[in-house]
Symmetry: C2
């Protein structure tokens, strides 16, 4: 095979061939053919490092899940899905890619992070960026006007990955949304109740849920003298308050975005406010704030929301925080975000694929859930612009995985990656067929059973496999047991062995593993 | 907004700008900028149809799953996952895209069906085509030399979709594989046992599992006088025997692939053979076949395989069939394929997204599982070429979904899309807060409960929702019940109502829905 320099030379030459053909307006077939050769060379260059050091990795910003990680993931998903089902949600799924136009104009500046598929003829496609836009497309396309659904799937963002902090280019979202025309703030309150339930059950440590309302923000900007056309850009600066000091945010508003110093200072007074229902009441009386109809509508709803949250007994974790803005364009009402408040250094997870990312110490995982009301999004897809009011929440599960993995690493308890109840073993030779026969009997009775794929495995290696993978029982057969119609049932941790008749074996295994 | 003709004109002009810059060897930044404008215009053109008829659809060959389809999917997955776990499998997951080079050279002619991602800077990526190649990459990358794993995920093929027959461009595969150096045919037999268990449990009607071996095929080709360099192409012609008559297959071999008539006729005699262990024995005695060492090795293993299948009691469905060839390049030993043998017209599933595909009547769903041994694939990824023998099976689950959906349509029994146990309702007005309070109590006790998001819903509409979505119980509260500290618990199907004390409500709901 050619070396790297040779291929690079060939790419250069081939690039010139393509450019020349294009300049000459050669036929599409001819150009495509030469472009294909060029790409083939580019691929070779990538693969060429493989001569001596094959590029054996996953794509940048992605990772495999090994069995231990999958066991943790399954546990987390079960907790979340149980919660969604407890709240009566249905489940839907959508394709991993959408028509490019479906995603266009939904994400503002973040659109540049969308993965496009190559134009191989046919439709222009992009990988989904979140589950909300596909949900809105689904509702409009199927003329669904009310549904409570969850959707757990991977989404894709060409972002700068920070994998040690659980930030990937391919990551799971767990979304719960309520679509439909209902009385104010009831579904909104249920979304917050769900966040509270899930974060409590996952035992991730203490957390706080910040709540605000886009109408309150817009009203605040209006009464503080922000020009209409600057609402969005000022809003996205406010959104940085969780990472930047007020001084820096103020400076960005004034110096970069051209806001007056007076307006900035007035905003500064509001965004430092935090509270509960009392704060909403106070702001409704506020001389300036009360001048904005929008703000009043938002504040009245905020009071209503807190009254429902009191019924749900979750106000201990919920804070009305005027600095919460959230980035996405499509929110129209209440918005919220949950953060873990556990500080202190977090142990660093190992990088998965040696992509050379530097481990960072003591980083906080930050936001683990977020969402809000988006009453206009479905209308963007409906040919007649019919609106379907929606409110929802998305659990940022990758950060949760990171924490759970760190906890599992730190814990003495071993994570089991299989659910095998019993290993069918023998101490003597030439019993493979008898082992297979018994194993099939157990499988057919619904018992989770394993057997070694060796004609004559050593008893020690069979027992060692049980120790390694946490299998609690061993069913040992030998000539004598076969003659007596029994099986020696061994408990791995106590090494205790008893004879069990073949007829009672299934029941005995079930009895002994019922708490596993 | 501009009309279609205007945009098309603009695209033409912009195309010329780009070509000119390229010809002038302008800077990359400058060219990229103009290319971006061009693509933006192309997108607009796609989106422009939306002025009057917005393109509200999923990408070609893909579909959404609605809640009813998801309920069926969940049931099918549970059956399959239970089986995989019963056999002691671990679970892994890999990213939806791989480095392009990882997939290069693994799929022969089918490589043209791979979806590539657009080169947006960085690595060249492709959507996974199956789960086997990512699995092999995973094993090599993590230096795993033995594992029994399952992986359920979507794969992508730019194939001609036939969605009424359950053929999509995005579809699930459910893979179970055993990697490791073991005694011959034991893991291979377990794979077939798994196919037998899953197809039996899914109750899809009668089925048959065809088995063959690549070594037997190659040996057969050799003794029939097929030149070495024609093995693969003749093998892919043999693979068409399930769709074409022997006459047509023979004609393709002789006229298109240039095989001699004698060789073709000799092959014809072999590929018509079907049987069990007896056939393997007979062929081992066959004057011609026994001349090939490869064939003898394959036939000896086939005998061994059938002896294990007898222990597993699955030989009723398994046929040694010399016409089975399977398309993929990477198989090295035993191969198999399961087909449903139910004939007769199959009801036609409705097309999901109005993509204009014509419904076809009475089509058979054909193959529902397939797999085999691939001992060389992992070595293709290992820098030192170290081999890890593998055998596995893939369940073609989309076809199974299609059948299950048709069965559900035909059945009188309604598919439930939620698991809600109880609806919290009231007949009187102004009890929203009391309903919310009780609902939260139930959620906190782990009961799956729903409540209407209306201040004063009608009792009839609350009961109607229970009828529609199969909720078995209603907990009704009114002024009197609140005073007495009870709840009126109504059984939806019998309309029977009894008073239950608030303290006993949770237990009573659990008791009544324990069989749901």
């Amino acid at each position: 095979m050619a070396d790297k320099a040779q291929i690079q030379e060939a790419i250069k030459t081939q690039g010139e061939v393509v450019r020349k053909l294009k300049a000459e307006k050669a036929s599409k077939e001819q150009i495509d053919e030469e472009v294909a050769k060029l790409l083939e060379l580019k691929t070779q260059l990538g693969g060429d490092e493989g001569r001596h050091q094959f590029t054996l990795k996953t794509a940048k910003g992605t990772r495999d899940y090994n069995p231990k990680q999958m066991a943790i993931r399954e546990k987390v998903f079960n907790t979340i899905i149980s919660c969604f089902k407890r709240h009566g949600a249905e489940n839907i799924d959508t394709p991993v890619f959408e028509l490019k136009e479906t995603l266009t104009g939904k994400y503002g500046e973040d659109s540049k992070l969308i993965y496009d598929l190559k134009d191989q003829g046919g439709e222009l496609l992009s990988l989904r960026y979140d589950l909300t836009v596909p949900f809105a497309r689904y509702l409009a396309m199927n003329k669904v006007t009310n549904i409570k659904r969850y959707h757990i799937a991977k989404v894709y963002r060409r972002d700068n990955p920070a994998m040690t902090r659980g930030r990937y280019r391919e990551f799971y979202q767990c979304d719960f949304d309520i679509a439909g025309q209902y009385d104010p703030m009831i579904p909104d309150a249920e979304c917050l109740k769900i966040v509270h339930e899930i974060l409590s059950e996952l035992e991730l440590g203490d957390f706080r849920i910040k709540v605000n309302d886009r109408r309150i923000l817009d009203g605040m900007f209006a009464v503080c003298g922000v020009p209409d056309d600057k609402f969005r850009t000022i809003c996205s600066t406010v959104d940085k308050l969780d990472k930047m000091s007020w001084e820096d945010v103020r400076s960005e508003m004034v110096k970069e975005k051209g806001l007056s110093e007076e307006a900035a200072d007035q905003i500064g007074q509001y965004v430092s406010l935090q509270g509960g229902m009392d704060l909403a009441e106070r702001l409704l009386q506020d001389a300036k704030m009360s001048q904005s109809k929008q703000a009043c509508a938002g504040l009245t709803d905020m009071k209503q929301l807190f009254s429902y949250l009191q019924l749900f007994q979750v106000t201990d974790k919920v804070v009305f925080d005027l600095s919460l803005a959230r980035g996405l364009d499509y929110y129209t009402g209440v918005i919220y975000e949950a953060i873990l408040t556990q500080t202190g250094p977090v142990p660093v997870a190992a990088t998965q694929n040696g992509a050379g990312e530097k481990a960072e110490e003591g980083v906080s995982v930050g936001s683990v859930a977020g969402g809000g009301r988006y009453d206009g999004l479905v209308g963007m897809f409906d040919p007649k612009g019919r609106k379907v009011p929606c409110v929802g929440v998305s659990i940022g599960i990758e950060r949760v995985f990171s924490i759970m993995e760190q906890k599992a690493e730190a814990s003495a308890e071993k994570v089991r990656t299989t659910e095998t109840q019993v290993m069918v073993a023998s101490a003597q030779k030439n019993l493979l067929e008898e082992r297979l026969r018994l194993t099939a009997e157990l499988w057919n009775a619904g018992i989770k059973a394993e057997v070694m794929y060796k004609k004559n495995p050593k008893l020690l290696s069979q027992l060692q496999h049980c120790e390694d993978s946490g299998i609690p029982l061993v069913a040992i057969i030998g000539e004598q047991e076969l003659k007596d119609g029994v099986v020696k049932l061994r408990t791995v941790h106590s090494r205790e062995e008893i004879d069990v008749s073949r007829a009672e074996l299934v029941e005995e295994i079930k009895r002994r593993t019922s708490d596993v």
